[in-house]
């Protein structure tokens, strides 16, 4: 039995071609597939049927963690670990813990956002099967691609190829894993 390919790649000339092709791949019910474009195409996420990213939730979790860390740190050091009266102030007050908590909220939000983005995108990634495709460099220049992966339950070399050709994809090629 031949090795199952990674998937099929098809080429499109213009952003509108790709956009409408993506709508049809979406409507055909595929889930494990992607578009490769030289620049961001507004509205492509909708055409691909992508949901909103969950990165904002990860950011929020990071922010809340940062705030609690700041408050806890000031409370622990000032009230428990090394109680010292400074300027007649109470050993702990959320008032003077606020600037630190605020800064840590921002810092942890930034870390969580960047980290969440990298994690969800599977980055950094040193190898991807499309990199073996000869013409892929033109995806950074003037050509648009759709890749449908073999792990998609609807994937079938013959049928998927037919679909990609029907929606206007040129030079449909199998990708090595």
């Amino acid at each position: 039995m031949a090795v199952q390919p990674y998937g099929l790649i098809a080429t499109f000339k213009t952003a509108p071609d790709l956009y409408h092709a993506a709508e049809q791949v979406r409507d055909a019910g595929y889930r494990h597939w992607d578009c490769i474009t030289p620049f961001p195409v507004h509205g492509l996420d909708k055409a691909m049927g992508l949901k909103r990213s969950i990165v904002p939730r990860i950011s929020l979790a990071g922010g809340i963690t940062g705030f609690i860390t700041g408050m806890t740190m000031i409370w622990w050091t000032g009230q428990i670990d090394y109680p010292l009266i400074v300027g007649g102030k109470p050993l702990f007050s959320p008032m003077f813990a606020f600037p630190v908590s605020y800064e840590l909220t921002i810092l942890f939000t930034a870390f969580a956002t960047i980290g969440g983005m990298l994690l969800l995108n599977g980055l950094p990634r040193h190898y991807h099967p499309v990199l073996k495709y000869d013409h892929i460099v033109r995806g950074m220049d003037d050509t648009f691609f759709i890749v449908i992966e073999a792990r998609d339950p609807r994937f079938n070399v013959a049928n998927t190829k037919a679909l990609l050709e029907k929606i206007g994809g040129a030079s449909v090629t199998e990708l090595e894993p």
Binding site: H42, G43, P56, G87, G88, M95, F96, P99
Partner: protein, 423 residues
């Protein structure tokens, strides 16, 4: 997309605009008349300070609109082009706000002059028994804080705002007919010198009108605090206008989800900004713990016998209503782009801005123990009538300007980008 702009109704049918404008004018005049009649019940000073709340509320909205239009031009912004026209209509209210300010300025020359801003009368007896005229702190500040500066300053600020508004309106409206790019460059120049003028005048206005009510106090954050409220108020009115024009059909095909997302993000940013400066002001005073500064907050928390007064709870309403609640709601993408929800957030924020102004102005009214008079009093009625009254005049001014220009600046070089914002 721009073909849709061409088919969108260009303006209100003139008759209906006139009818609603006249209705607003009647509401405005009645509101102001009731406020002035309140003098018979509550006396001049109480009504004047309540009227000052209503007047600064709408002036803050107008200043916010002016600053947002200037910021739009200085950044050569694109998405806000479709909304800018509505702010330009709103700017027409400055001249009426100046007219509405005249009674307060006139009171500076009546009965010793201390009816609104008590320091104007050197005979006013202050805490401790001596008079303002013999108060070293007043004498030191008198170079800035005097009757001529306040009256002249107020008139001067309004004239500057009217001048900037007139330049922006003329450039924008004329470009609709001739499409000349020079108007865009003229507005950018207006923005370049208008922003520092706006920043300095709104700061001085906030100090004269509001902060000087407690002239012993010090805060370097006051102008920034006022600016934050101005910007937030204008953004909220912007959202209300956007949803109103959308529901009426004017903005169909003009606005998309991303316009609501963008203005929602600005509202979130200015919510955080307001919280940042307001907390900084409180925190620095709390930390330094110097009586010259803490008295301002003490007045808003405690009576002379140490019991908690109503303003303490008002402060909590502001803390939650002006920061925590809008902050949490505005974090959500869905809430920002759902029209009835973002409008509700905007209305809530406007109400809290009004409470914030009450919190800053009304405790200047004190009883015989030098305690702040409670929040819940007849004065709230005069605040309400003056907000409705001044608001009626501002809405009238906006609706009168509305049919005189196209719905959106159709020949602005950025209009195409704005109509297809992130699409």
């Amino acid at each position: 997309m721009s073909s849709q702009a061409a088919t969108a109704p260009a303006a209100l049918p003139v008759e209906s605009a006139d009818a609603s404008a006249n209705k607003a004018l009647v509401v405005g005049i009645v509101g102001i008349a009731i406020t002035f009649a309140g003098v018979l019940l509550s006396g001049v000073t109480h009504v004047a300070l309540s009227y000052l709340v209503g007047l600064t509320f709408w002036t803050a909205i107008a200043i916010g609109m002016l600053m947002l239009v200037l910021i739009h031009h200085i950044f050569d912004a694109s998405w806000s082009t479709v909304l800018r026209r509505q702010f330009e209509h709103g700017l027409s209210a400055f001249k009426w706000l100046l007219v509405l300010f005249v009674p307060l300025l006139a009171l500076c020359f009546v009965d010793g002059g201390g009816l609104v801003w008590s320091w104007m009368n050197p005979e006013t007896v202050i805490h401790g028994g001596h008079t303002v005229g013999h108060d070293p702190l007043y004498i030191k500040k008198a170079g800035f804080l005097n009757k001529g500066a306040l009256v002249g300053g107020t008139i001067g600020f309004f004239l500057l705002w009217m001048w900037l508004s007139a330049r922006l309106r003329k450039a924008s409206f004329t470009q609709d007919s001739d499409g000349d790019l020079k108007w865009t460059f003229m507005s950018r120049k207006t923005a370049a010198f208008g922003l520092p003028i706006g920043a300095l005048t709104l700061t001085a206005a906030a100090i004269f009108w509001i902060k000087s009510l407690e002239y012993h106090w010090f805060s370097t954050m006051y102008g920034v605090w006022f600016f934050a409220n101005c910007a937030r108020a204008a953004l909220c009115i912007g959202v209300i206008i956007m949803v109103w024009l959308w529901n009426r059909g004017d903005y169909k095909g003009v606005l998309n989800t991303n316009h609501f997302h963008s203005i929602g993000m600005l509202m979130l940013a200015f919510t955080v900004f307001w919280a940042y400066v307001t907390f900084s002001q409180y925190f620095l005073i709390w930390n330094a713990n110097v009586p010259e500064e803490t008295f301002w907050y003490n007045l808003r928390e405690l009576n002379h016998d140490g019991s908690t007064n109503q303003w303490w709870y008002v402060g909590l309403v502001i803390l939650f209503g002006h920061f925590f609640i809008p902050f949490w709601f505005l974090l959500s993408y869905r809430f920002k782009v759902t029209k009835h929800i973002i409008r509700r957030i905007a209305i809530g924020m406007l109400a809290t801005i009004l409470i914030d102004l009450c919190y800053n102005i009304l405790p200047a009214l004190k009883d015989s123990h030098e305690d702040a008079l409670p929040f819940f009093s007849l004065n709230l009625l005069w605040v309400a009538t003056s907000v409705i009254g001044v608001g009626g005049i501002c809405v009238w001014s906006y609706l009168r300007s509305f049919p005189t220009a196209k719905l959106i600046p159709i020949r602005d070089p950025r209009i195409g980008e704005s109509l297809t914002h992130h699409e």
